[in-house]
């Protein structure tokens, strides 16, 4: 870990005022310190936001929830309003990490969790995300946990968060405070970026922009599930995960929101695939067609080829569970 200066922010406004080149906010710190120890991330200054008043979950008048960026994963998962209205989110959170990490990891921080790519984590190897222009050691290397959708020839990393997958299925909105004092509301669908030629840029946040809240619309109708496929029974990152919210009405799918972890640089969602499902009677044939659509552009890189059939089978099984087929 390279040394840094440390300040404790007294307010969100004060925090963003401290921000700038080489500055990082620290909340739970479970991912940032992990990476700083390995000198994958080397901020000059940490602004401690952990004691800001952003730790509440509030019910809005429109029926939705506003979740403070500092709400720990554990508290969010166990919140009765989340359990009742957004069980997919509780399930996703509980499938992630460990009890200890969930007690520390924050909602805002988890959205920004960085990839678990082995090569990103090791400064002895090339990584365009860590060091733009150095190359991608994962391509042609060992890439079991890597992306099959939306990757580029610069980066095939995946987003590791479970929570963010559920947030994407739930059409969450990320609320931020910018350095100039402006607030922004960013749909989660616009929040993340594919790697393209700049895998070091993972989202649309501007330098120094602070996530203050995450908003969920009112609880969605229909069945919800989160299914995570992994190598250990617990305490392992997803190989493939599915967050699903599907409503069946009068024998037909009335709405479907399906987000995927482990497949891409961001929590993946395919609105065209969802549109194929809506208005149709649930059936295995329909689900197979949906899976074909989802994976039409999928490409394996060797050790992760298995993710294509795995994603296909998992999606179909999830849709059957969600619709009772």
């Amino acid at each position: 870990m390279k040394t840094f200066t440390y300040t404790k922010a007294q307010s969100p406004e004060a925090a963003v005022a401290e921000a700038g080149e080489g500055v990082r906010f620290i909340a739970g710190g479970t991912n940032l310190l992990d990476l700083m120890k390995l000198q994958v991330m080397t901020p000059d200054k940490l602004v401690d936001i952990s004691r800001l008043d952003l730790g509440r979950i509030e019910q809005r008048e429109d029926g939705g929830l506003t979740i403070g960026a500092l709400v720990p994963n554990s508290d969010l998962a166990a919140d009765r309003r989340v359990i009742d209205g957004y069980p997919v989110l509780s399930r996703a959170l509980l499938a992630g990490a460990s009890g200890q990490l969930r007690n520390k990891a924050s909602t805002g921080g988890n959205l920004l969790q960085r990839t678990r790519c082995y090569y990103f984590y090791d400064t002895a190897t090339a990584c365009n995300k860590r060091e733009p222009g150095s190359g991608c050691a994962a391509i042609g290397g060992f890439n079991r946990i890597h992306a099959i959708l939306g990757a580029s020839d610069k980066c095939i990393a995946t987003h590791p968060s479970d929570m963010a997958v559920a947030m994407r299925a739930l059409d969450a909105t990320v609320v931020t405070l910018k350095g100039d004092g402006d607030r922004r509301r960013i749909s989660i669908h616009d929040f993340y970026r594919l790697p393209g030629d700049t895998p070091e840029i993972e989202n649309v946040l501007e330098p120094g922009e602070l996530i203050t809240h995450v908003e969920l619309p009112g609880p969605p109708q229909g069945e919800q599930l989160y299914r995570k496929v992994r190598d250990r029974a617990s305490y392992a990152f997803a190989l493939v995960s599915v967050a699903g919210v599907v409503k069946v009405e009068d024998g037909k799918i009335a709405s479907a929101a399906l987000a995927f972890g482990g497949l891409a640089h961001l929590p993946w969602r395919d609105f065209e695939m969802e549109a194929m499902l809506v208005g149709q009677a649930p059936s295995t044939a329909l689900f197979e067609a949906a899976a074909d659509k989802l994976l039409a552009g999928a490409r394996g890189h060797g050790s992760n080829d298995f993710k294509i059939p795995l994603a296909r089978r998992t999606l179909i099984a999830c849709l059957r569970d969600l619709t009772g087929v």
């Binding site: 870990m1 040394t3 840094f4 200066t5 440390y6 620290i26 739970g28 710190g29 479970t30 310190l33 992990d34 120890k37 940490l46 401690d48 952990s50 004691r51 554990s74 998962a77 166990a78 009765r80 359990i83 009742d84 069980p87 509780s90 399930r91 509980l94 499938a95 990490a97 460990s98 009890g99 200890q100 990490l101 007690n103 520390k104 250990r232 029974a233 617990s234 305490y235």
Partner: protein
């Protein structure tokens, strides 16, 4: 910097980079908390901070000057063991002993989470946090034991939690 650990006040002159774990191990002589991976991947460093179990390796000491910190040394002593420590001894919930303080702190924190009604990944019903062997195993999976005392750890915790044999065998979803 000032800290309150196990109810005792400490002062330390620290490099800003010092983790809560290294503060205890290298500066305060509180070596009961262990460093197994230094990256939140094993749980050996688990402490209770404001009553919650966390990985003390993945947090900066400087961020905890206002917190109530409890380490394994604060739970009990060899002469006066905490019930969880005593159960670990009787059930052989350890072998080499290196992950053990973290397991015990984690178990104490975990039972408190259950008391608060927090569900887990294996809870069939998210609104009821009934404990069972399966629940204990899932909830304790952030503490790796390479010797693998897992079955004995589950025995020890289920005893402290007062589970009946029938309760222990309940499967989740």
């Amino acid at each position: 910097m000032h800290f309150t650990i196990n109810g005792q006040a400490y002062d330390a002159d620290l490099d800003i980079r010092t983790s809560l774990l290294d503060l205890c191990r290298e500066h305060l002589g509180l070596t009961g908390s262990k460093k197994g991976c230094d990256h939140g991947q094993c749980g050996a460093c688990t402490m209770l901070v404001n009553g919650r179990r966390i990985n003390s390796c993945l947090t900066l000491a400087v961020m905890h000057q206002d917190d109530e910190i409890v380490t394994i040394e604060g739970l009990g002593t060899p002469e006066n063991l905490h019930p969880m420590q005593d159960a670990f001894v009787r059930h052989d919930g350890y072998q080499c002993g290196y992950c053990t303080p973290g397991q015990i702190c984690s178990a104490v924190g975990m039972l408190d989470e259950v008391k608060k009604g927090w569900p887990s990944h294996v809870s069939g019903d998210l609104t009821s946090a009934a404990l069972s062997d399966e629940e204990i195993s899932e909830r304790m999976s952030g503490n790796i034991c390479r010797c693998s005392a897992y079955p004995n750890i589950v025995d020890a915790i289920s005893e402290v939690a007062g589970l009946t044999p029938a309760e222990r065998e309940v499967a989740g979803a």
